[in-house]
Structures are given as C-alpha cells and as structure tokens.
Symmetry: C2
Subunit: 726 residues, 2 copies
Amino acid sequence: MTTHASRKGHMTLPVETGQEDVVLDLFQRWQADTLRDSDGTTMPDSLAQQDSDIYSVMCLVRADQEFANLHPEYLHRKYLMSFPVTAMSEDIVIQPLDGYSKDKYELDDDSDPKTWWEVRNRTTNEVVSPELWAFDTAKQQVVVSNATLYHEYAVTFMARQVWDSVSMYNALTNDWKGPRIKSLDPYHPECRAHLIKHFAHWLETHPNTSVVRFTTFAFLFVIDTGEKNQDIYRDWTGYGETVSPRALQDFEERFGYALTPEDFVDAGYYNGTYKVPSKRYQDWMTFVQDFVVDFAGELVEMAHKAGKKTAMFQGDHWIGTEPFLASYQKIGLDINIGAVEDGVALRRLTDSSGDQVREARFYPYFFPDVFREGNDPVIESMSNWTKIRRAMLQKPLDRIGYGGYLSLANKFPHFIDHVTEVSAQFGEYLEHTQRTESQKIPGKIAVLSAWGKTRSWLQNQARDQRFYVPPRPDVMEFVGNNLLECLSGLPFEVEFISFDDIADKGISSDIKVIINTGDANSAWSGGEHWDKPEVLVALRKFVAQGGGLLGVCDPSAYQKNGRYFQLGDVFGLEKETALTMGRVAMPVQVNRDHYLFKQLNGSMDFGNPSYVYPQADDIDVIAAQGQHLALTAREYGQGRAVYLGNLPFSMDNARLLQHVLVWLGQNENGEHAWLSSHPDVDCAYFPETGKAAAVNFSDEPQSLEVLDHLGNLRLIQLKPYEWRWF
Amino acid sequence: MTTHASRKGHMTLPVETGQEDVVLDLFQRWQADTLRDSDGTTMPDSLAQQDSDIYSVMCLVRADQEFANLHPEYLHRKYLMSFPVTAMSEDIVIQPLDGYSKDKYELDDDSDPKTWWEVRNRTTNEVVSPELWAFDTAKQQVVVSNATLYHEYAVTFMARQVWDSVSMYNALTNDWKGPRIKSLDPYHPECRAHLIKHFAHWLETHPNTSVVRFTTFAFLFVIDTGEKNQDIYRDWTGYGETVSPRALQDFEERFGYALTPEDFVDAGYYNGTYKVPSKRYQDWMTFVQDFVVDFAGELVEMAHKAGKKTAMFQGDHWIGTEPFLASYQKIGLDINIGAVEDGVALRRLTDSSGDQVREARFYPYFFPDVFREGNDPVIESMSNWTKIRRAMLQKPLDRIGYGGYLSLANKFPHFIDHVTEVSAQFGEYLEHTQRTESQKIPGKIAVLSAWGKTRSWLQNQARDQRFYVPPRPDVMEFVGNNLLECLSGLPFEVEFISFDDIADKGISSDIKVIINTGDANSAWSGGEHWDKPEVLVALRKFVAQGGGLLGVCDPSAYQKNGRYFQLGDVFGLEKETALTMGRVAMPVQVNRDHYLFKQLNGSMDFGNPSYVYPQADDIDVIAAQGQHLALTAREYGQGRAVYLGNLPFSMDNARLLQHVLVWLGQNENGEHAWLSSHPDVDCAYFPETGKAAAVNFSDEPQSLEVLDHLGNLRLIQLKPYEWRWF
C-alpha cells in the first residue's frame, strides 16, 4: 500500500460531537478535505474551524417544526385509495384510513370531500355520483347508498401526512428518539415565504458552512404505510406526494384540463415508476418539476449570494430535481451527491450533463444496523466497491464520501483500513485519469424505454424483485434481470432514449445498437408504446439498415395483431402466453459455430426459463434452457438482432453482454485496445493521459492477455481485488 | 393370478392376416369377444366366421380415392394465413404457400381469390383493398402494391388438402407405403350423395360385419404442415378443416352474417381450442355440428337398417360429434370408443350422457415405434393403466380394446401376460361393480371454463407443455399444471360449466365447489369472460353464501380495474405482472395450524413459482416457494377459497386436491366411508353391489387404514400395483 499524504483530499467525512480526535485522524488517513453533518449528527464547534470545506445539511421542508405544527394546511398531502370494500348490502360504509397508518395519515379536512374526493365502483370502474355518498365528519367515514351487491367500492381521498416518512423510518428502524417530524409543502405561497425567511436566517447563522447540502427541496419519495406502521408501497422516484388542491387548481389553469383523483391513485397502482406513464401524469410531473426548479433555484441563489456553494443529495429525494432533466441546470447547483451502492447508481450520478462536481456517497452508512457486533461491514462495502470501480472506469467521478456515526465505524479497525485503501485507490484514479474519459468501442448504445433520458440509469426492477425480501429494506439488492448493472462497467457510450424520442426525432445516426430490456407491461419494456406502428417501422428500418437490436426478457411485448413480441419478426421468435400452444415445439438446435456461442464459458446465468420459442427458420440458437430460448441471434436485412431471456448481474453475464454488443455493432472483427475478454477483469484506456487500468473484480488472483494501444499483447496478472495502472 | 376362462369376454382384439393362430389364442387369454380390423390391417376370412362380434372400420371420407382424384373440388379445404412478409419496398410479392408443405396443400383455384381470400396489413390489422393486390395464377403468388414500408403483410388463402393428415403421418412416421390418401368433404351435396351410395354398397358387401366402426364422419382434427412436411400446428379438437365456399354461403344465409377469412385464421392463432372462443366461431362450430350430426345420423340409420350396430372411435377425429354435445344423441350411435391413455381420457369417454356402450381403446398401439427391440411396452401400458384404474373407480366403463399388429405384440411375451392381467382385472371390475357407480363425497364439483360442458374432461394444456418435446408426437404426456388428471380418480361428482352457463342460468344449487384452473388468456382460465361484472358477482355471491372456490395457476386472470386476478378479493391475493412492483413484499408466514397444512406430506409438487403474493391480511398461507405463494386458504363470507399455484399430476398432489375439495366443501369433519388418505392408494365403495376396492398406484407394497361403510377401521395391505376387492 502506498501513502498519499502529500495529495489533496477528495473525500467528505461525517462528523460527530465527542469524536473530534477520530475525525481528525480519519481526515488524514482517508484523504478527506470536507466535513459534513447529517441527519442525526451535528457539527462540533471545534471542527467547524478546521481548514476544510464544511457541508451543512439543509432540509428546509422539515426545518421549522413549530411552523408545521401551527399550519396543518401546509403539510404534505397525497391521494390514497381506500382498500376496496365489497357491497354485502346496498348501503356500505367505508373508513378511508382502514389499512393505513393512523400515526402517519389524517383525513385532510381542509379540502372538501365532495370536491376533491371520489368514490368509484371498482368492479365497473364507474364514478359514483356525489349524491349517492356522504362523508360523516364525526365518524370520519364515507357512506355509500344504492350500491350494487357484490361490487367493490373504494373512495379516493386526500390524506394529510402528520409524520414524515424519513422521520418515521429512523424512529422505527434506527430507534431515533425525538418528536415526530412533519414536512411542509412549499407550493403554498405563504408557506414558501416562511421557508425562504427561515433559510435566510439560517444562512446568516451558519457562517462556517461553505456548502449547503440540500437533501430535499420540496417533496419526498413515496412510502405508503400500513396500519401496523409497516411500509406497504414504495416508489423512490414517485411523484405521489406532491398534491394539494391549490396545485391542482393551478395545473388546470395552465394545462387547460383538470386532473382527477383517479389520475393519482391509478386504480391502486399509483403511477409506479415501473409503469408506463400516462400523458396526463407526465403533464403533472412537468408541472411539479417547474415549481421545484423555481423554488430550488431561489434557494440556491440565496446561498450563492451568501457566499456559499450548494450541493444536492440525490440519494433518494429528488422529485422535480432529477439531474437528467434539462430543467435541472436552471437550479444552479454546484455539486451533485449521489448515494451509490453499485455501478448503476454510479452512472446515474456521473452520466448526467452539466458541470457540477460529482460526489459518490458510499454505503454502508455508519449506523447500528450494519456496524453491530458479529457483522463485517467490509463485506458489503467491498461488494459495492467492486461494482462501482467498473463503472468509474467509464465516466469520471470527482469525489467520494460517507455518512453516519464515525464512532461506530471506529470500532471496526479492519473497516477503517478498508476505507483507507478505497480512498487511496480513488486518489490514484483521480491522478491517472485527470477526470478524462476512457476509450469506448465505436457505436453508441441506446437503451429504449418509456422514460428515456429522464430516468437514465434508474434500476429496471424486475418482477423477481417483488419476491425477494432483502435483509435491509433501505438498501437495494437487485435480483433477476439486471442488464444495466452488467452494462455500467462496459466500454460503450450509452444513452437512454424514449419511444417519444423515436416518434419525434427518429433514431440518431450515431446509435449503433438499441437495447430494450424489462418485463412486459413495464415502463422499461414499453407496454402500450409497442402498439404504435411508427415505432415498429422505425426499429425494423434501423435494424434492416445495419443497426443492432438487443431484446432482454420481454422486448417489444404487447399483445396485438397476432404477436406478443411486436418485433418478433426481427428477433425471429415468440413468447408463449397460452395463445400459441398448438404450435409444435421442434427440438431446439444450438449453433455451436456461431461467434456468440464461442463466447460462452458455461457460467452464464440466464435466470428464469423464458417461455420463448423460435418462430423463424433462420434464427441461430446460442443457448437454451431445455426448450426455452435463452440466447438467440439473427440477421435481419443488413443488421442483427439478439434475444436474451434474462441477464442477472454477474461478471460472466457482463462479459457476455460485451460480446453481444460487439457482435450487434458488427465490431467483432475489429481490434480494440485494452478490451478485456476475461470475465472477472475489466480494463480501460484513457487516451488523454495515456494511462490504462486493469481491475480484478474477484477475490482470486486472475491473469489475462490484452492488446494494448500500441497493438502489443500484454500478459497481466492481478492479485485478488487488485486495481493496477499502466 | 386367477383364471377367468368361464367368463364372458369384454375385449376388442385387432386382427391380422397370417396371424390367425395368435388371434385365436389371445381371444381366449385376453377374454376377447370382438374382433376388429383397423387402418393398415384387414380381416382374414377365416376369422370373419368366428363366433364373435366383428368391428369393421369405416372412414367414408377416405374410402373412395378414385372419386377423390376425379373431384379436387370436393377435397377438404382450409384457410391458411401466409407467413407475414415485411414490406421492404412498396410492391411486395407473397407466395401464399411459402413455409407450408407442397405435398399436402395446393392453392384452391376453385374459389375466386378476390372473393374468398383476404390480404391484411398485419402491423395495423387493416384489410388491404382488393384493388391493391392481384393473384398471379401462373406464378401462384399475390402481388401487393402501395405497401407501407416496414409493415408486415399476409394473405389469408384457401388451401386444398391433397394429402390427408393421417395418411401423411403413417407414411412419414410408420413408413406405410401406398398412395397418398385424400379426404372428401361430404358437405357438397354431390359428394355426399356419392359417399352415401358408396356406403350402401359397402354395407351390402360386408355381411360378416356386426358393428360399423366409424373413425371420421366428415372432418379431421387440425394438423398444419410445414414445408419440410413437419407438423407446425396441431389442434386435436379444432374446427379448422371444415371450410368450403359453399358452407360459408350457407352459414351466411342461416346466421344472417358472413364470416371472413380472418374469423378462421384468427391473426395466426387459428382459434386453438385452448383459446377463448369468439361468438362468431362458436356459431360456425354449431353450423358444422348440425351438418355432421345430420350426415352421421343418415349413415347410422343405414347401418341399422342393414342389421348392424354402429360405433364411433373418438380417439381424435370427433369434429361435430363430440359426445358431450346435446346434438350427439341424435346420431343414434350404439358404442362410443375412446382412445384412453390416462384418467382424464377415460373420464372423457365415461362421463358423457347417453346409453351408448363405452369401450376404452388402450395405448400403446402394437406398432413398431413401441414394439421394437430394446423397448419394454409394459412400462407405458402400466403407467397408463394405473391412471385409468383410478378413474374407472369413479364412472363405469363397459369394454376395453387394443389396436395394431398382433404379430408385433406377440414378440413380447411379458406384454402378453401383462395384458392378460389387465383384462382379468377389468373382468373382476365388471363383476364387482355391475356397471354401477361408486359412492361420492357430498357436494358437486364444477370446473368452470370458457367451454364448459362441451369440452368436459378435455386436457387443459398448460404453457409448459409447449416446451416439452415428448418422445412420440402422437401420444400426449402432460407436463405442468394438470388438475384434471388429479381429479379424474377422486370420489367427487364432477361437472363442467361455462361462463355463459353462469350468465344464463346462474350457479346450480347442487354445486358445492367451483374450480377455475389454467393459464391466463386460455379458455380454461377464461380470459375476457372475467371482464363481466355479472360473473364476478355470481362467484362472489356463491362463495359468500357458503360455496367453495378453488383457483389454480391463473384463476380469474384478466387485467382490468386495478386487478389481474379479478377474484383476488376472494382469494386474498394478487399476481405480479410488473404493475405492482412497488407493493412491499412482507415475508410470508405459513399457518402450521391450518387443516390443510396438516395434510401436506412434503412431497407435493407445486410446479413453477407462482409470482403470486398475499394481498389480504386474513389469508392463510399453507405453502410457499420462497415468497411465491403455492397454496393459500381464506374464509370469505360463509364460504372458502383456496389458491394453488400449480398442480402437476402426482398421487401426492391428487390426494392434496382431495383434501382441498373436502375443506372447500366444508366436509372435513364428516366421516366418509372408504375414503383413502394414503397418497398411493385409491379406494371406492359401490353401494349397489356392496363391494369396495382398494388399488395401489405404486410399484411398492402399501398399507393404509380406512373406515369402511359399517364404520369399522380396516387395515389394508397391498402388493405393488395390486387391485383388491372387498
């Protein structure tokens, strides 16, 4: 291990009162240059004088609890759908909050139920006339008359949130004490004015702060909470908690039509990010984004005027301030901080446009759930770091940081040494790359989804995830199809495009391969977007004229016109959805002579059986699970198409993806400098600095031969987890 | 082994020229009383004089090849959809028969393409105006002009079948020599008149025949054949090969609307039996049925007038003469012969109404594919027989029989002994049951599907079947969900009902439990029938008032109004189809105190993970695969609901199904005489004869305790495969 004492720091260190000595020690060993307070910790006065940047956390919507307690009309509100009630008689009673947390929600008595609520027959999806139901304020219940027997009814109501989701989580999970925190909705001009005033005062009273680290500008992610205070629905990037009568009225004025309660509760699906968004809901998102950008811009400007820089922590709360939105740059932030647990999260941070400094906040937090006796926090950290390093080789990262209680981390000397090494590796990375970008294989890769650029590098949760109970609910562990993680560390230029992009602008000529990956019905696969002939035409033409098309899981899935996979004609296959069971299964024959077959090493993981079968005669089957196709290739016009049943993340799968993309881009005969074909080792070449790197993902020594940029074959031998520069 | 030489026979024996001695020997040993010829064999003159019934096979539509060769206009026709062609230019050429067997199909030049064919844009599903395409007779191709680039086009054309599917199968699979047989369509009055004349002559020239054994009255099952003469689509009960311009014209006159080519090719799905049938296609089936019943009735009457009895072999060709149709009884047949490989096939034979004699034709045929050196035909036969015996205990069977070449069977003395034993067991069964029915557990079980009674005991093929390549294509081996096979040997009264039955007549009061089993989209699950509020109301009411509901695989599956399982409110659960991934998975807790949990023995097979999760708080989870629900129970009003993820056939699963049905019928506290709770042993009690039976499914000795009809607990010990009477 080398020492880097002479170098400038690059890490943000959390501070803790009473741990000043530890902070000062780690400030050196971990090459820190910045101190931060965070939720649950405060900045000791002695450290605030240290020669370093000082990040101070600012969550303005939670900052003034006194004001929040005085003004329930400014609390965050949301639409909830009551759990449906079956009519066992003609008069039925619905307690809207049945099944929901009474600690978190109250019925919003500021908004008139007859104006803002809605009762629906959920069996017929008809709205029940307001004349046929009444809200009993005293009993807090809705009474519906003339119900149809054995039909289901539900009321969509506006709920007021009297306990903030994050405060609730920390109280219930991390046993934090203290009052139940409420969040204010700055959409109300009076509330906004008060918060602005509060922030101005805060700026005046925090002279040592050099960077204001905003965690939430206006709205939280969505967590719906059940009656046992358990989470029942989560959407880390959802817009469900942005509603107020005032905002709805303004929306109608601007867009010329009114949204209904149903637009928000969405038959109980709540517009989950994994769903194909409706045009109406996208309008609402635009409306919210414009407000948040305006409000956040005002705060940032105030901070700048006070001589401070600004950062936003994008770990979870980023509603309206998603950095891939064009409007994001209007806010004027200086630093983007992302919570980063894997390669996808890293790319979500590094790949947005704008000249912000990018800082990765690593897991695990120094919290008791991980830093407890008998647990080794290095295991999680190393698992994350090996994924993150791959992705760092593709796009520049500027800084790193941690959060939590240093006193806890300091009880694990092995972990302290581990972070010392992580930070040292990061320092070498900065030195060798000089924030330049590594060389890519020619031809841009586009990932096609209903969201496109706005949800770039957002994990495409698969159905399997729903049936996996992770050990810690706040940390994502992705199971099932996970192409993005495989892709995050591969040497390709990547962009995310939407179906609307294709319809509006066509397919850009620099795109060489298009990927469509995800479960049927999801925003990732595209759902009803595949019901557009112009999309099918654009993609068929793209491939016919030489493009590559990669479909994973349920590409182009939409039941219509005799096909489930609408581009089944290009892929040469079809999925069995119980509509084609009479088509005779011919025993699948693998083409062992195919370029892609030769890239298989026997360790690829194709996940669940695909229920996909060959439909074209000229399809090349590369791999199958029994008779279920796992990997196929086909020529179509001058282009190529590949289908992959599933692609969970593993290094074998990541390397397979690299070979697939090379083949689809018709690059398989080219010579690519510093391109690894070893499953466990990634390489990268930085032409601007002339440096190259090889990094070993595994805990075993590895060796590989790789062509360098001078055309020489190099034998490289790496120790377990080693990252070496050339 | 006992001898039964003194008893009357009960078996139909195939004959073969040159094997007269073998026939006479087996006639005794196998307790035969009837001789039959069959496809590929003829009746030796010496045997035709034997003191026995003589079955003579009659396939009238294939009987006069000279006439068929002279009259191509009377050959069987069908609509085929050409494989879609992508428009790479504005003028495209479609060879309709591309991809189809040229040995089997010709373009039907008797029907004017512009009248009877259709060209469709398969990307938009629009019909292309006949002005924009032309048929080139010389080149046998369709030319489409003004095509939209990268849209797909297909022509639906009428094909003439110049090689009968059965003849083709026997030539290609069994290496039968001889000319390619053609089948005639008796719908044409001139053709019908000729066939009637032919049959009259046949009757005159077959004085020794006592039973005319019809194999096909008019139309075959559907087999579509690819250009390498391989099967590409099969529907053993499909109506695809019943079409002619004349019949279509008559249909229009009778029903007041015209069917289109699309009604038949169905976007390439061809109205597979597993699909929910359209009203239009059901009208067509009614039309065909009425014709076939009329024609078959005329033939049967002729046979009766000639002093002969009539049988129909329902193994495969039964289009229009399905015995569960009310119209079937109008034909006047005396004997129903069914090809029986398992319990479901046996029940398909035994459970129809009418006073026909029921004869089971067992597998394997004495054909070289099974009776070859190195193969043991007893294995297949015993596997079948153990399933069939279970089902025989539930409904009376009258006769058994075999088919094929006796000379082949005679090379396997072990098989000859095996059949001797099978026939002896069958003789005992006839003696002890006297064709009476065994006692059932109270409460009728109804299986609900889109077909209902008309497709009673038809195997509900599951998606998994599509990915299983059986060793012999003509023999069904069912994989995946197979509730019917489990049910076929259980002591319940069973009927099959349709959604239309429920809408028209409600749910009969003698029905205690309703089963809905099958893959989503299939006729078995019900597809769009679940989009009817009246169906949901009827079933919710049925359960609320005390009924039992069993859902297997995708019960009530139809995406609408916030649910995928439309009766998810009754079952208390939902399936993940990528629309609810934000709903938080709570770790599944099994209720070990539940009655059903106590019936599990650890050997149950729930097949694939269900992707189903709990939605109600008061659901009892009985079994799960990880977090995927496999077996759940719930009270709903006064009734009960059970969900089973999958139920492949095994004896453990069959016994589990018995326990589930007992619980759903609220019969779990009753005492049921001769009810087995041993997985491998079925029992039955025949109150009219006072006899009881126990039959061992397994190749191991088994013992069980069972309550007899006098209330005494009996210990029963059975040898491997033993069937004992009490």
